[in-house]
């Protein structure tokens, strides 16, 4: 069981040497969990030479500006490496936060 206040991150596709990696965020991306999230996400990016990263948001129940900053950093690093970052299946409440700060336009949101 996942506590809604914590964050669990699972990565799919990296081991098989795929060029399409899916990162699933489960829980809550807030002040207390961003540090760990940032570390994990940048690690994934580092291991990837070419291709796409899709972040599956379907089980992310909460995001604050701290979480947005991590996504912004990930987006910048990915662009620098010519890797495409996609954000998928955001819940309404999380989507609203992205919309509020105008981030929906900065990212590829599916």
């Amino acid at each position: 069981m996942t506590s809604t206040n914590g964050l669990e991150i699972t990565v799919d596709g990296l081991e098989g040497g795929d060029s399409a990696v899916t990162v699933m965020l489960v829980g809550s991306l807030d002040t207390t969990t961003v540090e760990e999230a940032q570390k994990m996400l940048l690690e994934v990016l580092e291991k990837l030479e070419i291709g796409d990263i899709t972040v599956d948001f379907s089980e992310l129940t909460y995001i604050s500006s701290a979480g947005l900053r991590v996504m912004l950093l990930l987006n910048k690093e990915a662009t620098d490496k010519n890797i495409k970052l996609k954000l998928r299946d955001m819940r309404q409440s999380v989507r609203e936060v992205f919309d509020m700060v105008g981030f929906t336009a900065l990212f590829t949101v599916e």
Binding site: N5, D30, T31, T32, T61, Y62, S64, S65, A66, L68, R69, S93, V97, M100, V101
Partner: protein
């Protein structure tokens, strides 16, 4: 509604042996079908009050009259009278060496002289009421605290009491299991059970009761409907208490303040005030963003409150220093706050900045 009087309490006084007077001249009546929540700060005599009703404690003066019978009359068989009153405590006491069913049947067979079969049937019916049919053969130690408290409620109900007295039945439980017990209490209230519940859970008090007793100044300081007590309390101390329990305060007075502590305390507050998930998360976002940008130093604090009448939320931040509105900055937190609230005001008074944010329920 049936307003037939069940209990009449007259000029009740309680002074403990050490000379401390807890209750002074309390006169009140309880009608059949009443669901009364007893609220108030700790130490105001709530427990004493309900222990006096079923005479677990002797009053120093005054009387409790149950259905016309004065419980202090020496000719009255107090044990027989007590069977008519069901009692549930914060500390859950079950017979650990007996199955759940035996816990619920023993009083019926021993005290009410019901047949085993009749008692077991009653137990089955009550297990349904408290949602624990599948635990009939379990032993108490196999159950969670919330389940144990529901069994304690079923056991009290098995005696067909005319009134149930519950002293903080959910206080020892975590928010999740407390919710199960709250659901049972709601169910009982709907079934017309006469109840007196001492509770700190204001959303429970507000939603199940037809009367609230606010305890203060050695007695029932204000006795009125939940609407009046929560939305428009008439007396000053009630007003103060209601504001205090419907608001949440946290100091951000140094750089190493504990955000997890802030978040958890806020989440507890939100759940005990019945704020739904969507609003809980939305308010949490505003609290987190405000905490992010506030200067963390001596004097900084936030107060989050619920206007009971309008259902609006308010978040107030106070911080010292020069006259400076932190929402004039340009960053993600400010953008989120400005786009979320419906009203905002900054004031500088006596060397302190006061920022007030308001928004409605979503």
């Amino acid at each position: 509604m049936n307003t037939q009087e069940l209990i009449r309490i007259e000029h009740l006084n309680k002074t403990y042996e050490n000379g401390f007077t807890v209750l002074e001249d309390v006169t009140v009546n309880i009608n059949r079908g009443d669901v009364i929540s007893v609220i108030g700060a700790s130490g105001t005599g709530k427990t004493t009050f309900i222990r006096l009703i079923n005479r677990l404690d002797e009053p120093s003066r005054g009387s409790v009259i149950l259905d016309g019978v004065d419980l202090s009359d020496p000719n009255v068989n107090i044990d027989t009278m007590r069977m008519r009153i069901g009692m549930v405590f914060q500390s859950i006491n079950l017979f650990e060496q007996m199955s759940v069913t035996d816990n619920i049947t023993i009083g019926q067979t021993e005290l009410l002289k019901r047949s085993k079969e009749e008692a077991v049937n009653k137990a089955k019916e009550l297990l349904k009421t408290v949602g624990l049919v599948n635990e009939a053969d379990s032993f108490p130690e196999e159950l969670s605290d919330g389940q144990r408290q529901r069994i304690a409620i079923a056991r009290a109900l098995a005696m067909d009491p005319e009134i149930m007295l519950l002293d903080e039945p959910t206080s020892a439980l975590d928010p999740m299991t407390a919710g199960e017990v709250v659901a049972v209490l709601r169910n009982l209230a709907n079934l017309g059970t006469t109840m007196v519940v001492v509770t700190h859970n204001m959303s429970l008090a507000k939603s199940i009761s037809n009367r609230i007793f606010y305890m203060d100044e050695k007695g029932i300081y204000e006795d009125d409907t939940p609407k009046v007590i929560f939305e428009n309390p008439q007396k000053p101390r009630t007003k103060e208490f209601i504001f205090r329990v419907t608001s949440f305060n946290f100091a951000l007075d140094n750089e190493h303040y504990d955000y997890i502590d802030l978040r958890n305390k806020y989440l507890n507050f939100a759940s005990s005030h019945g704020i739904d998930e969507k609003n809980t998360d939305f308010c949490r976002l505003l609290i987190e963003e405000l905490a992010t940008i506030l200067p963390k130093k001596s004097g900084t604090e936030i107060t989050f409150s619920l206007a009971q009448k309008t259902g609006e939320f308010e978040l107030i931040a106070v911080y010292s220093g020069v006259d400076y509105d932190i929402l004039s900055e340009d960053n993600l937190s400010v953008t989120i706050i400005r786009n979320s609230v419906e009203g905002y005001a900054h004031k500088y008074v006596d060397g302190a900045n006061r920022l007030a944010l308001k928004w409605g329920r979503r």
